[in-house]
Structure formats: C-alpha cells, structure tokens
Amino acid sequence: MKKLRKGLLLVLALVLAIGLVACGSKDKDGDKTPADATTKGAESQDSSKDETKDTDTTSDEGASDNVLYANGGPEEFFETPWLNPGSYMYNKVLYSRLIWADENLSPISGEGDLAKSYEMSDDGKTLTFTLRDNIKWHDGEPITAEEIGWNIEYALQTTILNSVFNETFKAIEGAQVFIDGDADSISGIVAEGNTLTITFEKVAPDALLTFTQFAPLPKKYLENTDPVKLQQSEFFQSPIGSGPFMVDEVKMNNYTTLKPFEDYYGGVADFTIHLNPSAGDSDPNLVTNAKAGKLDYAYTKSIADVKALEGSDGISVEKVDVRYTRLFYMNKFDKADGTPSPLADQRVRQAIAYAINVDAICSGLFQGAATPANSLTPDGPDKVDGLNDYEFNPEKAKELLKEANWDENTEIKVFYYYTDQQTQDLMAVVQQYLADVGIKIVPQLVEGDLATILWAAPEDPVNGPSAVEWDMCYAANAALSLHEYYDRYQTGYAINSHTPSDSKLDELIAATNASVDAQVQKEAFFELQKYENETLFTLPLYYQPIFVVKSDKIAKGLETLGNPQFNYKWDIQNWGLK
C-alpha cells in the first residue's frame, strides 16, 4: 500500500514537472526544445519564419551573400529619430531629412535630401524648402510639405525631443502660443504645394543644422497617437520612413533586417542590412561579433574594443574626432545649509585643474584614445588659440590652494553616474592626484532620479542655495551644435544646477546666439572660450573620439568619415559590398 502511494506520487511529480515545461512552450511552434525537436527535425525548417513581421522574407539564397552586418538593432523598440537623430544605424538609413550635412555637419547648400532646394533669408528669419516631386514613404504614399509642417508641430508636443531641434522649433513664430495650447497650429509654418516656409520669431542659430538631422515621419500612422507616448506607439515596432532602406524582418532582441527601398529617389542599394541588437552606443558584443565576421560597420567609444580589434584580419578601425567632451561640472552655489561652496573660489578650481595629470590619464588609462581638453570646445577651427592648458603642476596647485586658504579637511563630493569600469578607474586616479595636493574628494556613484539628483536648478539662480548635493559632477557633453555646450551655463537655464548668475558669462553666451552667420558665431565663441579658460566655471577634462569599425567587405563607400552619431551625406545606397 505504502509503496503504491510512493510510486504514484513520483509519477505525479514527474508529470507536473514536465507540465511546467510544456505549459511554457505551448504557445509557440517554432521554438523547440532540443529534446522534442529531434523527433520533429523536418518541421523546424520553417522555424526561422515565424514571428516575422513582414510576410515577404528575403532569406532565400543570394541574400546572405550581400548582407551588411551592423549593430544597434532594436531590443524592445526602434528609438524615435527625434532624440538621437543618428546614433542608431536604422535611424540613419530608414529616414530622410530635408537637407544634407557634410561630414563636418555643416549644411550643404544647393540640393538637399527631401528638399530639392532651400533658401535662408539674410536676416536668418525665413527658411523656405522646395520639396522634390518623387519622394515617397516606404508604404508608397507621397510625402507632402503639409505633412512635414505637421511633424514640427507634433514634435513640439512630445517630451523626448533633441534639444537642438527643440530650441529651433521653439523659435518659430507662434510656437509658444501653440505649446501653451492657445492655437491649433503654428502660424510660422506655411505649406503651399511643394514648398514649406518657416518664419522665425527670433534668430535660431541652429536652424539649418536642425533640418539636416530632423527626420519627418508619416502623419497617417502618428496623428492619432498620444505625443507623450510617441516612443511607445506601435509605429516604432516596425517604423515606416522614407530613407534608402526599409524594415524587412524584426525579431526584437535577436536580429533585424533591412532591405533596399525600391522607390528611393537617390538610387537603390544592392544589399541588405542585418542588425545585431545592442543598446545605445555601447555594444558589449562588438568585438566578438566583429571577429566572427558578423559586423561590417559599427562605431565605438571604447578603447578596449579598439585594442581588441587591432590586427584583426579584414577589420579596420578609424578614429573620428567629434564634439564629445568629458568634464567636471563645478557647483559654485552656496550649500543648502548656507555655507559657501568650496569651489566658489576661482583659485581652487584652477588648483584642481593643475593637480590632475590629464596627459597621463589620456595616455595611460585611455591608451591614447583621448585628448586632454582645455575648453569644452574640441580642438579645431572653432577654438581660439592661446588657451592655458593647465599642464600638470602640483606645486602650482598647492600654491594656489595656499593663497585661497584651503582647508585640508574639506570634503568635495564628486558624483558620477556611469557604471563602467573606466569611469571607476578614472575616479580612483583623480582621487589620488587631488589627495597629493591636499584636496580630499569623495566619489559617489548615483542612481535613480538623476534629473533631480544632478540637474535640479536652485529656486534663486543668483544667490542659491544649491538644490543639488554635489560639488563636482563627472559628465559628458555630446554636442550636435556648439551652442549645446554653453547655453546651459546661462542664468536660470532649466538644467543649470551649478553656475550662479554671472552677467559677463550671460552676455558672452547671448552673443553666440545672436546670429545665424557662421563667422559671427565663431568670433563670439572665441571670446566665450577665453573667459571659460580663465575662470574655469566648468572643468573640461578630455575629448573622446569615436572609432568607426569597418570590415573590408565594404569595398566601396565610407571614403570620408563624419561623426557616426549624426547624419551626413554618406550615400549608403551606393555602397558596394564584396
């Protein structure tokens, strides 16, 4: 009797255990466990087809020979092209913009992308686009000027919009009234036939730049969605654009394939694109995939990746200088308890700059993949000559601290939010350097509501006290436009949690935004850079280049490299693969 019961229970247990497995795997058919698949080997032939979004799979012969492998494929959704306009490969190739930028991100005059031509008035307040006649969305519908105007209005209602776009669109006449809900449309946007005229209320210094990056989306799929939840709309599970490639097959978090768009005005590519999933611009599997021949084009900021790829057969890595500056924000507001900020004294900030050996950090920790910074503005024609480099000089640092009556017991709170090892190492190094001159820093990794922890601006932007707890904050500025570097230091700017009102600084920043003329802007930036360099209202550390990884499968194309995070005229539809 007892034995029988025992046996019965064992059987029961087994059945239930197997049931657990079976329940889970019932609601799909292609995914067999190795165990049961052996008996159904023949059926699994079609296993690669299920869950396919589009019906016409091009995975027949020939396709695999002409595939460009890239990374940045979607894990959960396609990111909208309105936040990081070119970070992801799919955002570069699925959409067209109105006009082209060259590899330095300067707008190309004359013929544009969706626009046949465009014209900016001399006062910088009227911008007119004339659209091409033969432009279509991937679903075959024509693209109209009215639709593009609608896109700008819609974009202003969303909450995730690139800040350069946002600044430009807000400068359009009637934009503020529209945002406040007092108008149904923006009066400064007028669409007539195939021309689109935009009138600005005040000068938008980055207007042209904006339209080299802003990708219009088909109105009919989005007009009934909630702009606040744009990213969550079904559209971004398999988006429809107007660029040289269109979505073919999506297997979220597994792979995504793109195929050439037959009606693209600029020519039809003769290859397809295969995207491995990866988040943002850090792909943990970049090296393994590249070495396994599963990556033909990608970019990375990681020097470890570059080192690991060095000398690999058929893979070349090229350095591209971009507007990417790592810095320490310096909080100069009084603390919440009323005590003055330890960094309010200019000499202390200068001492910190002298005490850190950025040269050694760049050549050691970053293996030469970073360049010491003397300004937020990266090296190049946009930067004034003769800035102080604050070369490593601990004696000078000590002297300055002595002058400033530095109290060695003061603890400086340094916040950082990057979780990578390199940041951690950098903090250890900086801590050591500063300790050597008698400055004690406490690095702290912060998580959670970073918007408040890092960028909450004080109620009183002149006298403080500070609304954040940090003294220094390690951060990165990736700028599309130079204005993005400096605008944030203006008095009362939305995310200025660190710099108290400074009329000289405000004046200098305002000057950079006063004109659309490139030369005038440049002169204004020169003055601003000198002031920045002298007062160190912020402490730039180093410039980080981006490395473009490319396999020799790309036989034709990519001759001139631009910033891979943004869109420039790279003619991908005319690339040749071997």
Partner: protein, 308 residues
C-alpha cells in the same frame, strides 16, 4: 562520615556529567573525534582544507604578505607584467594585482561566509523552534520563509540593492534575506523527524522547558546538515557576489572583491593580452570555491553517507 562524603563527591560528579550532558559537550566531543578521523581519510576534503587554509590565511595576513595597498594608484607603472616588485603585475591604473587579490579575497570571503552564517543562524533559531513547537508559530514561519523563497532571488536582490544602496554590508543583508529560507526549512524538516523520536518524548515527560529541549537536545542532532549548508552556501555566495558584479549590482566597484577584479578584466583585449589581470584571480576564486565544496561534501559524507 566517609560514606556521606563519598556520596557527596559522587553527587557532584554526576551533577557535572549532567551539566556537560545538557550542554551537549560529551556527545559532541566523541562525535567530533570520530568525524574528524573519518574526515581525515577523505583525500579531497583534506586537500580542500589545505587549499582553503592557505588562501584564507594569505588573505587574512595580506598586510604582511604585500607592502602595497590595493587602492594605491601608480600611473607611472600601469599594466606591467609580473616583476620582482609586483609579483602578479599591475592593473590598468597601476595598482598591485597580488595585493588586490588578497584584499579582494578578504572582502569576498567575508561576504560569502558572513551571509552563509547569517542564513544559518536565522535558520537554526527559527527552524528548530518552529519545527519542534509546530502549530501556528510553525505555519507562520513556514509561510514567511515560503514567501522569501518564492520571490525570485534576482528580483529581490536587484530591488533591495536599489532601495538600500550598494555596499558590502547591504549585499550581506540582501543575501541573508533572500537565503535564510532554505536553511530554515532544512533545520525544520530535520527537527520534524527528530521530535518524533523516543528520547525527545521522554524529555517532554520529564517536563523540560521547550527552549532547552529545542536548542540543547534536538539541535545538536540536527546540526550536521547545517554545517554542510554553511560551507556550501559560502561557496555559493562568493560566486553570487561575482555574478552581481557582472550585472553591475554588486559591491561598489571601488572596493576590491574577487568579483570586481574579474569583472574589470572581462574585455577581450585584456583576456588575450594581460593574462595576469584575470588568470590568477580566476584560479584563486575557483580553487577557493572548489575547496569549500570539497570540505562541505567531506563533512556530509562522514556525518551521513547516505543523506541526499
């Protein structure tokens, strides 16, 4: 006269024996010896114990074995291979790898052992009592332990880490919170079967108080699986700490632990070119974990060779 004195002496003697008996000393001693002798015959357990002791002692006496601080940055001497000064080379910012392994071991072992001990303590205290008493108290504790055991460990660890903040102390707390359930249930089920035995019933007849029966008379007999469990969970927690580092949820990166050291060396370039950054650490962690496992298995085999 003489008889009275001798009776008193005898009484004293018996009292002493009773005291010792109650304290469980006599039994333990005898058993300990036998277990030890048996354990010594188990080659793997002995080898394990030797390796374990070597690594443990090296970590404890780290300041004597190495002059370097595990946090001392030396930008002038980065990524150097093993030399006379730096036995196992230096890392990306010039810190001495050997000293990092030793100090990292201190932290990893402390986390692993501390968590295992915490789990066992809670498990013993609650499990013994609940198992013996039964009734409502028992069902309440069983329910609570079930709740903790049924929440996937990762979710518990991730959320607690986010709520409490990442630190070595919190990791131990999180490990104990998420791990005490199994040792509780183990002790309890052992006690459940022991309490039906005659000696326990006779103790009840004598009217001994519950805590004494529980912790003095039942516990020693239920202890051996707990000891095994402590050793094996120490090994498990050390590996868990490493896994958490990998997921970015572990001890803050600035604290050297074995997990953090390995995690820092996981890129392919380092793997292929700077073997000293990962191989020695990998070997030490694996050897240590393996040796603990052998000790645990050895104790189990000697205590109860047929136990599943």
């Amino acid at each position: 006269m003489a008889t009275k004195a001798s009776i008193r002496r005898m009484n004293n003697k018996f009292d002493k024996i009773r005291q010792q008996e109650e304290a469980g000393l006599l039994k333990n001693k005898k058993q300990g010896n036998r277990t030890l002798r048996k354990l010594l015959k188990n080659q793997l357990a002995v080898t394990g114990a030797i390796i374990f002791l070597i690594i443990l002692l090296a970590c404890i006496f780290a300041p004597i074995l190495t002059p370097y601080s595990p946090k001392a940055v030396d930008m002038g001497n980065i990524l150097s291979g093993p030399t006379k000064e730096h036995w196992l080379g230096t890392d990306k910012i010039g810190r001495d790898v050997f000293s990092r392994i030793l100090y990292g071991g201190r932290m990893s072992i402390a986390i692993g052992f501390g968590s295992a001990l915490g789990c066992a303590l809670i498990g013993i205290i609650l499990g013994c009592y609940a198992g013996y008493k039964g009734g409502i108290i028992d069902s309440i504790f069983v329910r609570i332990s079930e709740v903790f055991m049924s929440i996937p460990r990762l979710i518990l660890v991730m959320m607690l880490a986010a709520i409490m903040g990442q630190s070595a102390g919190n990791i131990v707390l999180i490990f104990v919170l998420s791990g005490w359930g199994s040792s509780f249930r183990m002790v309890r089920s052992k006690v459940l079967s022991i309490r039906e035995e005659e000696y326990v019933q006779s103790l009840e007849v004598f009217g001994l108080s519950t805590p004494i029966i529980c912790y003095k008379h039942i516990l020693p007999n239920a202890l051996s699986p707990t000891i095994v469990n402590v050793t094996l969970s120490t090994a498990m927690f050390i590996l868990d700490e490493a896994a958490l580092s990998f997921l970015g949820l572990g001890v803050p990166l600035e604290v050297p632990t074995w997990g953090n050291i390995l995690n820092a060396a996981q890129d392919l370039f380092t793997l292929q070119n700077n073997w000293w950054l990962w191989l020695p650490t990998g070997i030490v962690v694996s050897l240590f974990v393996m040796s603990i496992n052998f000790i645990g298995d050895g104790i189990r085999d000697t205590a109860d060779p047929t136990q599943i």
